[in-house]
């Protein structure tokens, strides 16, 4: 069986050993616990169409500082639980009264969930060379449960997006996506990401997004140079964007390498 849209309580299987995320077992029968897409390969799981991010140790995420206390930054991580970044969890030593200079309310960070205890106290760290405050680019928000679709099978979707838009794209597990690049590339990347968000449940996603990007690029060039042939248009675009490429974000490449 393939994939299908199911509602909470929908019967999925008689084999409880197959039950995975998004399901529950009652009287040896497997039911969906969420409204989402059920898949039946390698166990039965249901990916919800919506929902909050629930932090797990080891998750790389994007947070926004919402409060600065005596020794902690309180970080919004799109979860029912705030993240805590302790003053000792940043790469350099600062005094308590300098905390707002280092990171102030409203600033974003690329951070790692280092621990989540039984009381759902979520500890974050920047003590890793991959992590840092985010000072440039754009951040958009998507449904956290859909993050794997943005990355694609062994990173195929994200690799395609990065290649086509010449942007660096970091997808946080909490559904915040950080994009850096030239304005046009970022616009295209964001349009594509929002299309993925809307259409995760429709089969053939990668092909459709690839087609969408080609069309978007084609349109823009056609306005500028209407007499050119299709092939040269593509080349023209590639060149255009190549020129716009920024030098920033080498770190992101490393990171994404890790994700794959």
């Amino acid at each position: 069986m393939d994939k299908k849209l199911v509602i909470p309580g929908e019967f999925l299987s008689d084999d409880p050993s197959q039950a995975d995320e998004g399901t529950y077992v009652e009287n040896n029968r497997v039911f969906s616990s969420v409204f989402g897409i059920a898949s039946f390969n390698n166990g039965i799981r249901v990916v919800p169409m919506a929902g909050k991010y629930i932090p797990k140790p080891g998750d790389l995420i994007v947070g926004i500082i919402k409060e600065v206390t005596y020794s902690n930054w309180i970080v919004d991580i799109r979860s029912p639980y705030d993240g805590l970044l302790h003053i000792s969890e940043i790469p350099r030593r600062i005094e308590n009264d300098e905390m707002s200079k280092y990171l102030k309310i409203g600033e974003s960070i690329m951070t790692l969930v280092s621990d989540v205890d039984a009381n759902m106290k979520v500890e974050l760290t920047l003590n890793d060379q991959r992590l840092r405050p985010i000072k440039e680019g754009r951040i958009i928000e998507v449904t956290p449960s859909k993050v794997p679709r943005f990355i694609g099978r062994s990173g195929s979707m994200i690799a395609m997006l990065k290649n086509e838009t010449k942007c660096n794209i970091f997808i946080g597990q909490n559904g915040r996506i950080w994009i850096t690049g030239k304005d046009k590339g970022m616009e295209l990347a964001i349009k594509s990401l929002l299309k993925i968000e809307k259409e995760t449940h429709i089969p053939g996603l990668t092909d459709r997004i690839t087609k969408f990007i080609k069309e978007e690029k084609g349109e823009k060039v056609k306005v500028k140079v209407p007499e050119k042939k299709e092939e040269s248009i593509e080349e023209g675009i590639e060149k255009n964007i190549e020129e716009e490429k920024t030098s920033s974000g080498g770190i992101l490449d490393e990171l994404l390498g890790d994700e794959k």
Partner: protein, 243 residues
Amino acid sequence: MSKPEKLIENGIRLDGRKPDELRPIKIEVGVLNRADGSCYFEFGGNKVIAAVYGPREVHPRHQQKSNSAVVRYRYNMASFSVEDRKRPGPDRRSIEVSKVSREALEPVIFQEYFPRSAIDIYVEVLQADAGTRTAGINAASIALADAGIPMKCLVSACAVGKIDGTLVLDLNKDEDNYGQADLPVAMTPDGNITLIQMDGNLTKDEFKEGLEMAKTGCMAIHEMQKAALMEKYSSQIEGENNE
């Protein structure tokens, strides 16, 4: 309107329905942008809108539960939803309705997945026409699913009443005002009853028969709830193919 001479004649009610017939139902899922999940539900002359926020932080903090989410339910009637303008804000009736409605939904929500958080359900009655609490529960149940909240199943609700000695499904306003009993029920698709209230007068046998009628009504509503949720995404799939 003063009391009609007869509320049911030759098995047909004043609004033309048969005894076991529901009023028309219209459902829209995801109607609000800010809320995590939402649903607009028309049930006869009732127009209600439900929004779900959460799981999210609990304020005030002392309401936190260390091993599960707290579920909060606020049923509120718009001032203009009834014949005589209602003063804004909660009254004793809406506080009671909020409590029993919350208890109708709590047993299906996997609250233990989200310790120390809150799941907030807000139901606003924009137009009232008998059966607002059941309309609210139907809407809230869909809004919870739309918000991605893990739950055992949806909850469906409707009322059974007695008019001129006949048991009928889903009372309208006149039947509610001048009938002899009103029995709102909420249940899961496998028949577990999560809300039951009654006022009026029923014999033991009438009650048992009425409960069976309510069950049939809830099953029908469950199918419509499911169809509405499916519709939210299937219409997009069609739209895509038409391009």
